[in-house]
Amino acid sequence: MKQTEGMTLIVKTVTRISVWLVLLYGIYIILHGHLSPGGGFAGGVIIALAFLNVMLAFGRDFIKNWLNIDMLHDIDSSSATMFIAVGILGIAFGGSFLANFIPHGTLFNLVSSGTIQVLNIVIGLKVGMGLFIVVWALVLFHLDQKE
């Protein structure tokens, strides 16, 4: 079995079902970051792990056809720019860098606590895409080829 073709049939069948559950779990942890432990970074790592699961089970060539790596790169950079944009809006409306300018809402609701939720979503996207692109760049080097 060549290195780029993936793993056995059992792994491929189970991954077809389970990867969407992992993705949903990651989104849940990002969105509930202000109510329960987790937040942007932990949820982002779980989203990256979902994509890595597909890459391990199905191989390198499948990912090249299934995902557009340039789009992931663009989501990564624009999330980072949006983080700074939220900070600059904090200067405009709140008085200091990264100050809160969205109304707080009621306690324990899903949409509450101001800019913390927006920043969680932005960080979750950036960490997810960034970690997957880092591991993808390492995978692209063929260790058995001499340079």
């Binding site: 432990p37 970074f41 970690l131 260790l143």
Partner: protein, 114 residues
């Protein structure tokens, strides 16, 4: 007090690994152990006897005085992110070093000297 001494012992295990191992990947893993030891020490510094987790739950009024200090936990979260980035950088350097030198052994990667 013994808990902090055990954390320091784990730190020393990490330093022993970095100094004596000859394989690049084992050096990276030993550095990871050092990082875990320091993070563990941070979390243990925030503990108070008989306190509970610092999360407010609906319909269960809890006073802030009975909670553990949450600031070291936020510092540990930041520290884990930084160590993730550092590990990724070291792993990328190890992969490129294998491409150029064809070995992971640090006694053979010695073109710069003096």
């Amino acid at each position: 007090m013994t808990v902090y001494l055990l954390c320091f012992a784990l730190f020393l295990v990490g330093i022993y690994g970095i100094i004596t191992k000859r394989d690049l990947v084992r050096i990276i893993i030993s550095w990871g152990i050092m990082g875990y030891a320091v993070n563990l020490m941070f979390v243990l510094f925030g503990y108070k006897n008989g306190s509970i987790y610092p999360i407010f739950v609906k319909n269960a009024p809890v006073l802030p005085q009975t909670m553990v200090d949450p600031l070291p936990q936020a510092l540990v979260l930041t520290s884990i992110v930084i160590e993730l980035g550092n590990t990724a950088m070291l792993a990328a350097l190890a992969v490129r070093l294998f491409q150029k030198y064809q070995t992971f052994d640090i006694t053979k990667i010695r073109r710069l000297s003096g």
